[in-house]
């Protein structure tokens, strides 16, 4: 029988713990039994592949999905999706969602006392190109209060969901903005113990990509699990 051969374990501290008590809702929802090592089979090496049919026009322009323009600071967000060897992940489905400029989500559960914007849904998606590149236009999301602890506020962020080459490379994360004073107080951001890994979730202001007179730009590269010498490509013997 083939030995159980997991993917490269993430370096210590570079992924959050499941149980992180400062993030209160993690306590009752995180497993306590040890995680079981998964064998490296076709079930793990394969994964869903999406095609252009999942994308409709304006999915990559969150400012153009309604008759009018949304209120807020227009921004371009772009970057590359890479594997652990630095190779581009092509055709990766990237889904994004976010609050509006006032810090309110278009979702029935969000009752934050801030206005909804009739011209902003806050939902986008795209497939990466041959270089693993993605790009979308949106408005900068606002910070918003939440009930985790007294006077808790989420720093501005955009949610990202990505599919790589197999189900083990699946990633859901959040992109933050440089210079946000709320980051040191946010338990979700600070659940990543390793400072470098944590700070890699902060996008970079990118003057070069800025459209003069129109929109500022932020760059955000993403690394998905998987590399040539791990199970994603071929079974190890």
């Amino acid at each position: 029988m083939t030995e159980l051969s997991p993917v490269n374990p993430a370096p210590p501290g570079t992924q959050p713990d499941f149980n992180y008590p400062p993030y209160v809702s993690s306590v009752a929802r995180s497993p306590r039994m040890p995680l079981v090592m998964l064998p490296n089979t076709i079930s793990e090496r394969s994964g869903p592949v999406f095609g252009p049919g999942v994308i409709v026009p304006k999915d990559d322009d969150l400012t153009a999905q309604h008759p009018g323009e949304p209120i807020g600071e227009r921004i371009l967000v772009h970057g590359r999706v890479l594997d652990e060897d630095g190779r581009p992940v092509r055709g990766a489905l990237v889904e994004v969602w976010q609050a509006n400029a006032a810090g309110r989500y278009r979702h029935r559960v969000d009752q934050h006392h801030a206005p909804l914007d009739p011209n902003f849904t806050g939902c986008g998606r795209m497939l990466t190109d041959e270089d693993g590149y993605y790009r979308f236009k949106t408005i900068k999301p606002g910070a918003y209060p939440w009930g985790n602890h007294y006077n808790a506020w989420r720093p501005a962020h955009i949610h990202f969901s990505l599919f790589g080459s197999g189900i083990l490379s699946r990633l859901v994360t959040q992109m933050y903005f440089p210079g946000d004073p709320l980051q040191p107080y946010d338990p979700i951001f600070n659940s990543i113990a390793d400072e470098k890994a944590r700070n890699r979730l902060i996008s970079h202001f990118d003057l070069e990509t800025t459209t003069p007179g129109y929109a500022l730009a932020y760059s955000f590269d993403i690394v998905l699990r998987g590399s040539e010498d791990t199970p994603f490509e071929a079974p190890k013997k």
């Binding site: 995180s30 039994m33 079981v36 095609g51 889904e95 939902c123 083990l168 079974p235």
Partner: protein, 181 residues
């Protein structure tokens, strides 16, 4: 030099805004043979109403889809959100057995990725089918103790064998087996 994978963050309570477009109750599959009902429970046995499951499974011949169809979606993938009572259900085909390695096969199973508010990283598990002869020879199932193994195998809820129940318990008694990723 190896790059460090980007850190995970919770999907949060508002995932439906961005992920809802792929949510379904009927998994794209060559046949509709079984319906699975389940509920997601936390450590206090409270239902988890703001969770989303992603299923990945082989077709009846044991092949995983390698491309998307005209709608842009691959066969064998489904995304299912839980309802206000933490319940989910889906209808699908019976996946075929797939290789474990060169020498042995795995019993039919559905790979399940699980996301919810409160989970800073998603969870990974599998659902197996009851009464499958091949379960007894599945290397992964057999590597688990009997009580842990039971958390991965759905239960028949009708004589026809077409209705199954499989619950996900995030913590505590009968905690579902989750895999390291």
């Amino acid at each position: 030099m190896r790059l460090v994978p980007t850190a995970s963050q919770t999907v949060g309570p508002y995932f439906f805004i961005g992920m809802g477009h792929l949510c379904t109750r009927s998994a794209p599959a060559p046949a509709k043979e079984v319906t699975v009902h389940g509920q997601v429970l936390d450590a206090n046995r409270a239902p988890v109403p703001d969770a989303v499951l992603e299923l990945w499974f082989a077709d009846p011949s044991g092949q995983y889809a390698s491309r998307a169809d005209a709608s842009g979606r691959p066969c064998g993938f489904a995304r299912i959100a839980t309802d206000a009572e933490g319940r989910f259900s889906f209808t699908t085909c019976m996946p075929g057995p797939v290789p474990f390695d060169c020498e042995c096969m795995q019993a039919p199973h559905i790979g399940v990725l699980f996301f919810a508010r409160g989970l800073l990283r998603h969870l990974l598990t599998r659902m197996y089918f009851p009464g499958e002869r091949t379960n007894a020879a599945d290397p992964l199932l057999q590597s688990l103790s009997e009580d842990r193994r039971a958390t991965l195998v759905a239960r028949n809820t009708s004589a026809s064998g077409k209705n199954l129940e499989w619950n996900i318990v995030l913590q505590g008694e009968n905690e579902t087996v989750f895999f390291a990723w």
